[in-house]
Symmetry: C2
Subunit: 96 residues, 2 copies
Amino acid sequence: MARVVVSVMPKPEILDPQGKAVHGALPRLGFHRIIDVRQGKRFELEVDGVVDAAMPTEIQDLAGRLLSNPVIENFVVEADGVPVDPGEPGETQDAP
Amino acid sequence: MARVVVSVMPKPEILDPQGKAVHGALPRLGFHRIIDVRQGKRFELEVDGVVDAAMPTEIQDLAGRLLSNPVIENFVVEADGVPVDPGEPGETQDAP
């Protein structure tokens, strides 16, 4: 059984109101050295069996279709802590 | 400038309805090898200056007080991809 982590973050050019709200609360709580906060989502998937050759493509597909909104979000897939290569250049998470 | 990542996940014994909803949608989309999904939050903090000796404690404090609910969530802090030691045993993220 393998654990695959998909991290989904708002694209840099997209406004992130949740992150801004957290950032705005920091000085009141005594934290002054943090200059920006972005908030995203983290998915932990338990995969039956090993992460074989077909799995990266399948997880990339899943991350792009179900777990993220490619218009406003980027995602990164990691299998057991190692980033998974999308297999093809120009995938969703590299799009401008 | 350093980037610190705080990953917040529901504790294993806590029901995760968002993760369950994602998991329930997978077979309809043709994914049959994923046996569990948990959904949490990911915060990316930009820290002014370097991550010095005081920073891990400060970020742990911030993660426990503002970014997570210690009753139902665990968190992990990573600075530049390396997990940050909480400094003391028995911190929030290790609590049962």
